[in-house]
């Protein structure tokens, strides 16, 4: 029945399944959608979309798929019943012009002239108007107004349907800003990182083991209390943060990431670097020149069971990665790529988080190089990216 719609949703990457589609059909069969398009829209939305991130995509597909049907249904009696709202000028909007129509507008004196004329006529016109060829109204042939046959140069205020409801809800696209929720807060990051936790029982036995106690009591015949160690977060993380320069743009989101990470992991070590890790890293940005730690020391200090997470935009000159002496601040004897390789050889589980939007990556050569060095384990600093990263690190 709505199979075409269903497949369009799938193509638009709204995660819908056969089960949900059947639910929708069942609901339609029970007459829940009534006979109005709005109700069907609400019903379909509630049955097929299960996450507010996908609401906008759903709206777009719905609008596209059912456009013809709705226009047809509304066109029938719109001619008789349309009520043009009072604020005509406010909703000037939507121009759908073909080349011919554009030419005609030119003939009328261009777009601006058209608007001016429109304004004038609005002032001249006092009441509602229908038909005719000069005034603004419905079903006329003047370039102004709605549902006309003349090039509909300007469509005005078709904003109340005959049911006196608001503009077609799905065309409003109110859920636009919920799409892909790029907004990332400490709390969200924590939730994303939580998947990385590995629980293990180590340390002193200081928690009552109830099932153990019952089992051994039954076996012994007297009350035999069993204890077990508490569960700890057993993941160890080593983070390297790019600091300064182009990273200044991303400072807020990196701060949030940092504060989330700091409370989430029991074993967390962090160091800073600039643009690309070379032979030295540091812990305190103010004393970076006198208190550098050799990268070799870092590699030797932390075992291979640490998960290495590098946070940086990787936006720099390609020479800073590939050539000795390429570093912007001092002479480096070995190329950044060599140091990256050493880090990666030691830390089996590694990932790079990049605050730059993912679709920009291919425009920066340095990001490409880094991406290759990381063997594709570079992720954007979005919730989705963090999710993918934790999945990768957990492997």
């Amino acid at each position: 029945m709505f199979t075409g719609f269903f497949y369009k949703l799938k193509d638009a990457r709204v995660p819908v399944s056969l089960r949900e589609y059947l639910t929708l059909l069942e609901a339609v069969e029970k007459g829940l959608a009534g006979y109005s398009v709005e109700d069907f829209y609400y019903l379909a939305r509630s049955a097929l979309v299960k996450d507010e991130r996908h609401l906008d995509k759903f709206d777009r597909v719905f609008s596209e798929h059912f456009k013809g049907v709705i226009d047809l249904a509304e066109g029938m009696d719109e001619v008789e019943k349309t009520e043009i709202p009072e604020e005509w000028l406010k909703k000037l909007a939507e121009k759908f012009l073909t080349d011919e129509e554009k030419a005609e507008i030119e003939a009328l004196g261009g777009w601006e002239k058209l608007m001016e004329t429109l304004k004038q006529r609005l002032e001249e016109q006092k009441g509602r108007h229908q038909g005719g060829n000069k005034w603004i109204g419905t079903a006329g042939t003047s370039p102004f107004g709605a549902y006309g046959y003349n090039p509909e140069g300007v469509r005005i205020g078709q904003d109340k349907s005959r049911h006196r409801r608001a503009v077609k809800v799905w065309d409003k696209r109110e859920f636009k800003n919920l799409d892909d929720s790029v907004e990332i807060g400490t709390r969200n990051i924590k939730v994303a990182l939580r998947r990385l936790r590995k629980w293990a029982r180590t340390g002193a036995a200081d928690e009552l083991d109830l099932p153990g106690t019952i089992t051994s009591t039954a076996r012994q015949g007297w009350l035999d209390v069993q204890m077990r160690p508490e569960r700890h977060n057993a993941v160890k993380v080593l983070m390297l943060f790019d600091i300064g320069g182009s990273m200044d743009d991303h400072i807020k989101v990196c701060e949030e990431l940092f504060s989330a990470v700091k409370t989430e992991f029991k074993h967390l070590e962090y160091y800073y670097f600039h643009n690309c890790p070379y032979e030295g890293l540091w812990k305190d940005n103010a004393r970076r020149w006198n208190e550098q730690v050799s990268t070799w020391d870092v590699i030797n200090t932390y075992g291979a069971d640490y998960k290495l997470v590098i946070v940086g935009d990787a936006t720099m000159s390609p020479y800073e990665i590939t050539y000795p002496g390429g570093a912007v601040e001092y002479w480096n004897a070995e190329a950044g790529a060599v140091w990256m390789q050493r880090l990666l050889d030691h830390f089996e589980h590694a990932a790079w988080i990049n605050p730059q939007p993912e679709n920009w990556w291919r425009h920066h050569q340095s990001i490409q190089i880094m991406h290759k060095l990381m063997e594709g384990r570079m992720f954007p600093l979005t919730l989705d990216g963090l999710d993918r990263m934790t999945g990768e690190l957990n492997r």
Partner: protein
């Protein structure tokens, strides 16, 4: 049996469609939305308007799915056995019924079951409830009995989006996202809660409120429940509408802002904005 909102609850049309679909097809309804937009209240109002009993199961981070079904109180049985209590021979005496069981067993009309803030629980929690919510039955191993719902309860589940819910779970639910109400709906909601509140005061307050929500950088945007509290305060103080309108120059911090801004930094931000406005005004 149709839900149409109640005199205390303004339901938008899309919400009504979603609720009625869930009731008719007997599927759970998952409700999400900003905190304070009336997710929990919805279940109460559905129960009230349909004249059904409401059973609330509030989820915490330590809640396990099993607790909703039943719990076997091994400790008291152990104690009873040490004391030689007669009850110890019947294991049924130590089965404590959970909220789901309670909902399944309710006599007469099926109740409304609210599973509140499901995202607080462990990530596997919803998966553990799949079969139980789908078939509305479960098996008690200790007593070898199957508990089956006589009437399928209406299940409302709320989530604050702190965790992603598993796909298999989502597929079985209807979903509704309560979006923040627009100014008209908001005026309706206020009318429902405080009928006859001075019209002008409300419109000034609403303007101010939406302005505040537009200020970028707020840690926690004020929401409907905060607005209602704030209006209550304003009414109690009997402030004239003009007091609210003085927002242009001197006071960018509205009176009684404590009800709206719940965060020190946010109050701070507002005071700074007020300061800047004053400086510009000079």
């Amino acid at each position: 049996m149709k839900f149409q909102g109640t005199e205390n609850y303004v339901a938008t049309e899309d919400l009504m469609v979603a609720v009625n679909a869930a009731i008719t097809l007997q599927r759970p309804l998952l409700v999400k939305g900003e905190p304070g937009t009336g997710k929990t209240v919805l279940a109460e109002e559905i129960a009230k308007s349909l004249g059904k009993k409401l059973i609330t199961w509030s989820i915490k981070s330590t809640t396990r799915a099993q607790q909703g079904l039943y719990e076997y109180d091994a400790v008291s049985r152990l104690r009873d056995s040490q004391l030689g209590d007669e009850r110890v021979h019947d294991i049924g005496n130590y089965i404590v019924k959970g909220k789901l069981w309670e909902a399944f067993e309710a006599d007469g009309e099926a109740p409304v079951l609210l599973i509140d803030e499901i995202d607080k629980a462990d990530i596997e929690f919803p998966n553990d409830l799949l079969q139980e919510l789908d078939r509305m039955e479960f098996f008690v191993y200790e007593t070898q009995q199957t508990v089956k719902a006589t009437n399928r309860p209406i299940v409302i589940i709320t989530s604050n989006n702190e965790k992603e819910l598993p796909d298999a779970f989502l597929r079985r639910c209807f979903f509704h996202y309560i979006r923040f109400p627009d100014a008209d709906t908001m005026a309706e909601i206020i009318e429902v809660h405080y009928p006859g509140i001075q019209k002008r005061l409300v419109s000034e307050a609403l303007n101010l409120f939406y302005d505040m929500r537009d200020v970028s950088g707020l840690k926690k945007k004020p929401s409907t429940s905060e607005l209602l509290d704030w209006l209550k305060l304003l009414m109690a103080e009997d402030l004239p509408p003009e007091a609210l309108r003085a927002k242009d120059a001197k006071t960018a911090v509205p009176p009684m802002h404590g009800a709206l801004l719940k965060n020190e930094q946010d109050v701070h931000l507002f005071e700074r904005l007020a300061f800047m406005a004053r400086r510009e005004g000079r």
